[in-house]
């Protein structure tokens, strides 16, 4: 069970009580204003207590919250979207959705990892874990964007690249390596936003970008907390501890210079106001693009080089 969903239970109960009270007050000639206000105050207090400062593990659970806006929610909120399918060679990987789009009137290529909402969709999208064909679709779309001079906008949300037999057989490592290789060379602006789980290389393959944005409660990690715990202590149960060690929160990554901008979420997480959050992400992306589209291609590539060149370089 998701730890955030667990913690939300008391709050939801309280929400329902307040709603019931309000209904009651509307139907009866008694003044319940004081009671309602008291409950609302209590609700706000608990909410602050529960969500005011969240541990890394709670953030992980928030990033995985079943109601959190998914890649396709961002795609759906674009002014216009025309999906382009397939890697041209083997398969259309539905874990990655991409195509032409308009973002606040601006023509772009938009690419999103999508985990799927219900069971059927989750299976269709392989729980958001891309296969090599997914990354090869990305490569193809980035080449198209480059050819047409369109910026690339990506939305990152994956527990990691698919670790199945077929994916290994069709060279998953090569696919990710080449996706990075393609982004490295693109002469158009690239803006990546980590909207949920940024799972290791499978996430980075869409995030070698000129600007890397991140939602407040998204996480972005070198390994999943469970995987890390299994390796470190032979006990996936110690994921919470691993989550703390891995420095995977937006604050940490902003500090490390790995993330350029953190987009705030409402108290309680993005799913408390999905429409608002999606809109503020798109606004931030649009903002980033405005600054980037005026930069000449060679300069853009040079800046991208320097941006990542700095990370982990010896201090000078």
């Amino acid at each position: 069970m998701n730890a955030i969903v667990e913690r939300e239970k008391g709050l939801i109960e309280l929400e329902q009580r307040i709603a019931a009270l309000k209904t009651h007050a509307a139907q009866q000639p008694v003044d319940m204003t004081a009671e309602i206000r008291a409950l609302e105050t209590k609700y706000a207090e608990i909410q602050r207590e529960v969500f005011g400062t969240m541990t890394p593990w709670q953030r992980v659970n928030m990033a995985r919250h079943p109601k959190r806006p998914l890649g396709s929610d961002y795609i759906a909120a674009l002014d216009q979207f025309d999906e382009l399918h397939g890697d041209r060679h083997f398969r259309d990987d539905r874990a990655i959705v991409g195509g032409f789009a308009k973002l606040r009137g601006r023509r772009v290529i938009a690419i999103a990892q999508d985990k799927g909402r219900d069971t059927k969709e989750k299976v269709l999208r392989n729980f958001g874990m891309p296969s090599p064909e997914g990354y090869r679709k990305v490569i193809r779309l980035v080449q198209l964007a480059d050819h047409l001079g369109l910026p690339v906008v990506t939305f990152v949300d994956t527990s990691g690249a698919d670790p199945g037999i077929g994916s290994e057989e069709r060279a998953q490592a090569e696919a990710i390596a080449q996706s990075l290789y393609e982004l490295a060379d693109a002469s158009v602006p690239i803006v990546a936003t980590v909207i949920g789980e940024g799972g290791s290389g499978g996430a980075l393959a869409l995030a070698l970008a000129d600007r890397v944005l991140m939602l407040e409660h998204a996480v972005y990690s070198v390994a999943s907390p469970e995987g890390a715990a299994a390796i470190l202590w032979g006990d996936a149960g110690r994921a919470e501890e691993a989550a703390t060690r891995l420095k995977l929160t937006s604050d940490d990554l902003l500090q490390f210079g790995i993330v350029d901008e953190v987009i705030p979420e409402p108290l309680g997480g993005a799913h408390r106001d999905p429409v608002g959050v999606v809109a503020s992400v798109l606004a931030a992306v649009d903002n980033a693009l405005s600054a980037l589209t005026v930069v000449a291609p060679e300069e853009l590539r040079d800046r991208r080089y320097r941006k990542f060149r700095r990370i982990g370089a010896p201090a000078t």
């Binding site: 069709r170 998953q172 490295a184 040079d302 990542f308």
Partner: protein, 303 residues
């Protein structure tokens, strides 16, 4: 081929206290091998030709003509995350330094192979399982930047468990950093050969290992993205024996060739020789700009 004293010394093993330690058991055929014999045979089992994992400096000695000038050796890992699990990260690093006689998981530098000057990087699984942290990423990046400046071909031997967890996202970002360096090297007409050795997985396989112009693999090396155990846990069944081996990848079209260690130097010499024709790298953007006399990219960009 004469090997300079200092190079041999870098890998001089401590004399074992007892005679028994001079013997090693081959993990494949089980035969007992006298270690000096094994070393003399390039760490290949004389009985079953199993390729033992090699120490970076043994590899270098085996390959280079006689010269090797290390670069980036002064770069030492810090502890950016203040990491500790069973033991603190700096302690692990100290232990690995002693055990491996290396300062980090890759050794980079300039050398000649069969008379051809090259930029050479050799990863070593003995140091933190060849994982890529900031220093590995930085050394590899500097290697490609130096190779680009000097117009040298670049050869990298990979051996890695992936990104180094103890350095968190700073480690993962080395995939991006090295990719940018490889790509710029390539676009400027550079020639890059990677040699995947046992094991090459995770973030290293998913970055510079699979970005080379020519990709070799040592015979029977394990190569993949996900680890074998992760896959088995995911699919809840045992994997076939040859899964993720070099030979398997060859059949699946992922790599150019599989080479026995004994033939490796000769093969690299031939491959380097083909690259000598590389006078007219026409499709790289930078090379094209240069060819038509346009101003070169800003030096600043090499920061």
């Amino acid at each position: 081929m004469p090997m300079p004293e200092w190079l041999r010394l870098r890998r001089a093993e401590a004399v074992p206290a007892d005679q028994a330690a001079q013997w090693t058991k081959c993990p494949k055929c089980g035969s007992m091998i006298y270690r000096p014999d094994l070393a003399a045979n390039a760490w290949v089992c004389p009985n079953c030709s199993h390729h033992f994992r090699m120490h970076a400096f043994d590899r270098i000695s085996m390959l280079v003509d006689s010269d090797f000038v290390e670069i980036g050796g002064e770069l030492l890992p810090g502890d950016p995350l203040g990491w500790t699990d069973k033991v603190p990260y700096p302690q692990k690093l100290q232990r690995d330094r002693e055990k491996s006689k290396l300062t980090e998981g890759v050794v980079c530098g300039f050398a000649s192979i069969g008379g051809t000057p090259v930029a050479l990087g050799v990863m070593d699984f003995n140091f933190r399982g060849g994982t890529m942290g900031t220093v590995v990423g930085e050394r590899i990046t500097q290697l490609f930047e130096s190779a680009r400046e000097r117009h040298l071909p670049c050869i990298v031997f990979t051996a890695s468990g992936g990104a180094r967890m103890e350095e968190g996202m700073l480690a993962l970002m080395q995939m991006a950093k090295t990719t940018l360096a490889v790509r710029r090297f390539h676009d400027d007409g550079g020639y890059y050969v990677s040699v995947l050795t046992d094991p090459t997985t995770g973030g290293v396989s998913a970055s510079f290992a699979f970005q080379a112009d020519v990709i070799l693999a040592e015979a029977r090396a394990a190569i993949g993205f996900a680890g074998r155990r992760v896959i088995e846990q995911t699919i809840r069944q045992k994997l076939p024996e040859n899964f993720q081996t070099a030979e398997f990848l060859l059949e699946k079209g992922a790599i150019d060739m599989v080479v026995e260690r004994s033939e490796l130097k000769g093969k690299l010499m031939r491959l380097l020789d083909y690259g000598i024709g590389a006078q007219r790298p026409a499709n790289g953007r930078a090379a094209l700009l240069r060819a038509i006399g346009a101003p070169p990219e800003s030096a600043e960009s090499r920061a």
